[in-house]
């Protein structure tokens, strides 16, 4: 049973990841290209020298101003990352990234689903799949997004990547913890739905709001970066995750439903 769920989670996660990749490629790549073009233009303006076309394969200039000045105009451009990957490869790599992301998420999801099944949430597998995917999207994607929204290339100081990553992971932890508190609350509160659901919403929102107020802000948008492009990129990024979780939840629920109808459940 667990094996069946895990295999289903891995395969459907991969599939949903590729679907999200199609959305990200069609809607997101133009935004990334725009941001990179702005970044290159800013770098040219800053140093008074044109970037070598072949050297900017990372897509954006990285490193401190000193490092950037040091690498500027050199043929291969010794980025702090070392390796060079062309823009075309990066666009193909997008599908690899979303596909592998889906594989990993789908596997973890299916094991969580196996643990929740019959213990918490709706009794129907299909309804549980949709409810779990929706909750995971809210807790793991929307909560961190509200505090630390996605940024396009050209936004963000490379020096602070580790701090930003830790803060982002902290917000994921806050989202998961708040979900656990909300689920405990909804099971513990006596009375009808009019008492339980507001209590559950409060139990979710209050810890998230407190953590958002306590954790430090990250504001690294360069002066003059177009607000419209920033907004469009962030909505597209949230949309990519929405496409992933909606496709995955629907596919997983649909396959559960299908398995339940089969004469001999797999």
């Amino acid at each position: 049973m667990v094996r069946t769920l895990l295999v289903r989670g891995l395969l459907l996660g991969l599939l949903a990841g590729l679907v999200a990749g199609v959305f990200a490629f069609a809607v997101g790549e133009p935004r990334i290209d725009d941001a990179i073009a702005l970044e290159k233009a800013a770098a040219v303006h800053e140093h008074g020298a044109a970037a070598e076309p072949g050297s900017a394969t990372h897509g954006h200039e990285t490193g401190t101003p000193e490092q950037r000045a040091g690498t500027h105009g050199k043929e291969s451009g010794t980025h702090e990352h070392g390796d060079e990957v062309g823009r075309g490869t990066q666009k193909a790599g997008l599908f690899l990234a979303t596909g592998l992301y889906g594989l990993a998420v789908g596997g973890v999801f299916s094991l969580a689903f196996a643990g929740l099944r019959g213990r918490v949430g709706p009794r129907s597998d299909a309804a549980l799949a949709l409810a779990t995917a929706g909750t995971a999207f809210a807790a793991v994607i929307v909560v961190p997004f509200l505090k630390y929204p996605a940024n396009p290339p050209a936004v963000g100081d490379p020096e602070t990547i580790n701090t930003r990553t830790l803060l982002y992971l902290a917000m994921i932890g806050v989202g998961l913890l708040s979900t656990a508190i909300a689920v405990t609350t909804v099971r513990g509160v006596r009375g009808g739905p009019w008492a339980r659901w507001p209590a559950a919403v409060l139990a979710f929102v209050v810890p998230v709001a407190v953590a958002s107020l306590l954790l430090p802000a990250v504001d690294e948008v360069p002066d003059g970066f177009p607000a419209t492009l920033l907004w469009q990129f962030r909505i597209t990024s949230l949309g990519t995750q929405l496409v992933f979780w909606a496709s995955f939840g629907t596919l997983f629920g649909w396959f559960c439903d299908r398995a339940a109808r089969a004469p001999a459940p797999a």
């Binding site: 049973m1 667990v2 094996r3 895990l6 990749g21 990200a24 997101g28 790549e29 990334i32 990372h58 954006h60 980025h79 702090e80 990352h81 070392g82 390796d83 060079e84 990957v85 990066q90 666009k91 790599g93 997008l94 599908f95 690899l96 990234a97 979303t98 592998l100 992301y101 594989l103 990993a104 998420v105 973890v108 094991l111 196996a114 643990g115 099944r117 019959g118 213990r119 949430g121 009794r123 961190p144 997004f145 929204p149 996605a150 940024n151 396009p152 290339p153 963000g156 490379p158 990547i161 930003r164 990553t165 982002y168 099971r187 990129f233 597209t236 990024s237 949230l238 990519t240 995750q241």
Partner: protein, 61 residues
Amino acid sequence: MSTLSARHIPLSHLVPWLLAVPALLLLGYLVLMDNGAVSQTGGYLHELMHDGRHLLGVPCH
């Protein structure tokens, strides 16, 4: 809803499969967050997954 349904999967069946979780989390880490420290590929993985990282919303350069 709060009672244990007969449909639950016994924990003894579930636990061995949980060994897959660290491997899955490592895969997620390599896709979303590694900057060469674990993968030892320099920045290659980071660069390859670059657009995906930005669009999946994780912090990136």
